[in-house]
């Protein structure tokens, strides 16, 4: 579903991402792990088409992000680590805007808003309130609904569990599992290694812009924990 080949991205003279290659298949959840400034967000932004890159190739469901960005973006949903949403809209207006862009029918958006709103604990009244009145967690939930409203094939999430209450966190994990069971793919960055270990099929660890390990979760961690593997690689 997501294929990253030899991705390199520089900021001035600094290589933020250096020859990174990995893929996430349909039905898979892949954790993207690394310390602060390792290159996780840059990689995610390149995959979404927000950032251009110097060399390499990224394709989503076979569509090149650099050659046909609009087609590629139709297949994905992205939520950054700190989702700054349009605070001059209500939650519903924001969801309508996203659904309009993806040409989602009224019935479908109604169903998705009701379903994911209820699951994440965002009531109809809260969705109808101005985004400016939302807490961080509520913005995160609204961003999640907006990501799921158009039934993407790939979801890219940057630190999705930050700011979520325990119930919403649990629901999100359930949604992620269900999404992948239906053939979707997820790549998400996180610092919560226990969640990554329990939830993910694959893991990619990045250090100073270079991918230091990538593979199936069981193969990467072996008999030890993901935390031990990560700390060993970071040492």
């Amino acid at each position: 579903m997501l294929e990253i080949k030899h991705l390199t991205k520089t900021y001035g003279s600094k290589k933020a991402v250096d020859d990174v290659s990995f893929s996430v298949g349909a039905g898979e959840i892949c954790a993207f792990i690394g310390h602060n400034g390792a290159g996780k967000t840059t990689t995610l932004k390149c995959a979404v088409g927000i950032l251009g890159f110097d060399s390499g190739e990224i394709s989503i469901d076979g569509v090149s992000v650099s050659k046909d960005p609009i087609e590629a973006k139709k297949r994905i949903a992205y939520i950054p680590d700190n989702p700054d949403l349009y605070d001059y809209m209500t939650g519903l207006q924001y969801l309508d805007f996203i659904a309009d862009v993806f040409s989602i029918s009224e019935e479908e958006r109604k169903e998705h808003i009701a379903r994911y709103g209820e699951a994440l604990g965002l009531s109809k009244e809260e969705i109808a309130a101005p985004v400016s009145s939302y807490s961080h967690g509520m913005k995160q939930k609204l961003a999640l609904i907006s990501a799921l409203i158009h039934s993407p094939k790939l979801i890219l999430l940057d630190e999705p569990f930050v700011g979520l209450d325990p119930k919403a966190s649990y629901v999100l994990k359930e949604i992620m599992r269900e999404f992948c069971a239906q053939g979707g793919a997820i790549l998400f960055s996180t610092h919560i290694l226990e969640v990554a270990e329990k939830l993910c099929d694959r893991v990619a660890i990045i250090k100073q812009g270079k991918l230091v390990t990538y593979g199936k979760m069981e193969e990467v961690k072996g008999d030890s924990s993901l935390e031990d593997v990560f700390l060993e690689l970071e040492a």
Binding site: K45, G49, E71, I76, Y78, L85, Y86, E125, A129, S135
Partner: protein, 530 residues
């Protein structure tokens, strides 16, 4: 504890001069020095204006009516002080960002209030000094002062400050209380700003005349003694009357302490009361739109949500509509004015004068010039959605056209009516106006793509201080005036419609070139913004 609080408060005050709000960083020493010098020059300039006014009053007021001098100048000082202090009181006392933080520390609220009110008083003295210092200097220079008058005039700085601070706190309390209740804050802000603007111009054109008439009076009207009783005594206090000084000081300080103690008493209750509406909206209705309409709707919502955006970038809309109505109503006298220009512009029917004025009015709207910068930290949303850069540009340009084209065409039509333009001239003028408005939209967007500023901390930085906005407005003014001036050498040979047709062609060509640049280069620049 008070020392630490004062230190924090003065750091905040110093930050007004030492911090660059646009970048959210400290200014360099040289930049801070230039900024402070600019501020000082502005204050001295204002003081000089008040000095001239004070001198005018002093030369016309009789000895028996000398109270009128400080009565008028004191009223002006109160108005100036209030103008600056109400906003300060609102922002630094009632809605200060660190209110809750400070209240979470072991600091008695009355100490927080004491420090805030002291800081407010210092700024208030600064504002009033712009009026009171030249008032005192002019008095000494042109009429002389008694010792008691000089002492009282000096004390008035403090007494007047007490009064201004008390009034500011009361007004700011009302504003803050209303702001917490009102849902459509941006609409209220816009309406209030337009009213203030109208009031300012009304005062600007009428006040001087009224003041001079007042200063020439020989009998004190009863209304002054009753309705403006406090300022009547202020006038006599400055003349050295001890009783008036006692009355004025007593009431002013009384009001100040009343406001201070009320604020100390209710500070916690007010600042910690529910600030905004609960996160509960009425159940909204889903609205399905096409992609292009959704993007345009996003621009409209962004525009309507920000009073600063409306007032800074679309004020021309209101002015063009008002000017259009004015032209239709006063067409006769304007035609006479245009007729008088025939000696200078023998081949002109007036369109060559009217149309540049329409263009200048249209150039006041600069909605596209900050539109990319205004995306700020929310740029990721459109960048991650399957919308092309061209679609985003189209929505931004459309917003400019909707708000500028129709009033500009209305003004152009009114102009044509006023100068009694023939059909051909009117047609070219209308098309010329449309071409210019489109040019204005494309030019602003182009400049913003060349010089975007996404990392602002205050929206005003993108709206007022960004290079694209300044170049867009002044660049368009320059272009229009240069093109109008270029007509003069050909005034004896070229008819209006010929020159306007040339302008139409030039603007249409520029529109084409800018549209092409936006398609080929602008889209790439937009996509490179991370």
């Amino acid at each position: 504890m008070l020392k630490a609080l004062f230190k924090k408060q003065f750091r905040e005050l110093a930050a007004l001069f030492l911090m660059d709000r646009r970048k959210g960083k400290a200014r360099s020493r040289a930049a801070a020095a230039v900024f402070i010098a600019f501020f000082a020059v502005m204050l001295v300039g204002l003081a000089f204006t008040f000095f001239t006014l004070a001198k005018g009053i002093l030369l016309s007021v009789s000895d028996e009516m000398m109270f009128l001098y400080y009565f008028v100048m004191g009223l002006i000082a109160v108005a100036i002080g209030l103008f600056g202090s109400v906003f300060n009181a609102y922002a630094t006392v009632f809605e200060a960002k660190d209110n809750e933080f400070l209240l979470s520390l072991p600091i008695p609220p009355r100490k927080i209030v004491f420090v805030r009110v002291t800081s407010l008083s210092l700024l208030s003295i600064l504002y009033e000094s712009v009026v009171l210092v030249p008032t005192f200097v002019a008095r000494m220079m042109y009429r002389g002062v008694t010792l008691l008058g000089a002492i009282n005039s000096f004390l008035l700085f403090f007494v007047l400050t007490a009064l201004v601070v008390a009034l500011s706190l009361a007004l700011a309390f009302v504003v803050a209380a209303i702001a917490r209740k009102v849902k459509r804050k941006s609409l209220v802000s816009v309406v209030l700003s337009v009213l203030l603007f109208a009031l300012y111009y009304f005062a600007y054109f009428r006040a001087q005349n009224a003041i001079m008439r007042l200063s020439q009076m020989t009998v004190v009207p009863k209304a002054i003694k009753t309705w403006l009783f406090l300022f009547y005594h202020m006038g006599w206090a400055a003349e050295g009357k001890a009783a008036s000084m006692a009355i004025f000081s007593g009431i002013s300080f009384g009001a100040f302490f009343l406001a201070y103690f009320a604020l100390s008493r209710f500070f916690i209750r007010f600042t910690t009361s529910k600030k905004s509406f609960s996160v509960q909206g009425k159940k909204g209705k889903i609205r399905v739109r096409k992609k292009g309409v959704a993007l345009f709707s996003r621009e409209i919502k962004r525009f309507l949500s920000s009073p600063n955006y409306i007032l800074n970038c679309a004020f021309g809309t209101l002015l063009m509509l008002a000017a259009g109505v004015f032209l239709f109503v006063k067409a006769k006298s304007l035609y006479a004015l245009i007729d008088s220009l025939r000696a200078v512009l023998p081949k002109s029917g007036g369109a060559i004068v009217a149309m540049p004025i329409v263009f200048l009015a249209a150039a006041m709207n600069d909605l596209t010039a900050p539109s990319v910068s205004l995306e700020g930290n929310k740029l990721w949303i459109v960048r991650s959605l399957p919308v092309s850069s061209e679609e985003v540009f189209r929505a931004k340009i459309l917003l400019h056209l909707v708000l500028t084209l129709f009033p500009a065409l209305f003004l152009a039509a009114a102009g044509c009516y006023a100068i009694r333009a023939d059909a051909l001239t009117a047609l070219i003028s209308i098309f010329g106006t449309a071409a210019f408005v489109l040019f204005s939209a494309l030019f602003g967007l182009t400049l913003n793509l060349v010089k975007p500023s996404l990392d602002w901390t205050s929206e005003n930085a993108a709206l007022k201080q960004s290079p694209s906005v300044l170049i867009s407005i002044f660049g368009e003014y320059f272009i229009v005036m240069a093109l109008a001036a270029l007509y003069l050498p050909f005034a004896k040979v070229l008819r209006d419609e010929t020159y306007l047709a040339i302008l139409l062609f030039l603007f249409a060509a520029a529109d084409g070139a800018l549209a092409l640049w936006l398609k080929k280069v602008g889209t790439k620049k937009f996509e490179s913004l991370g």
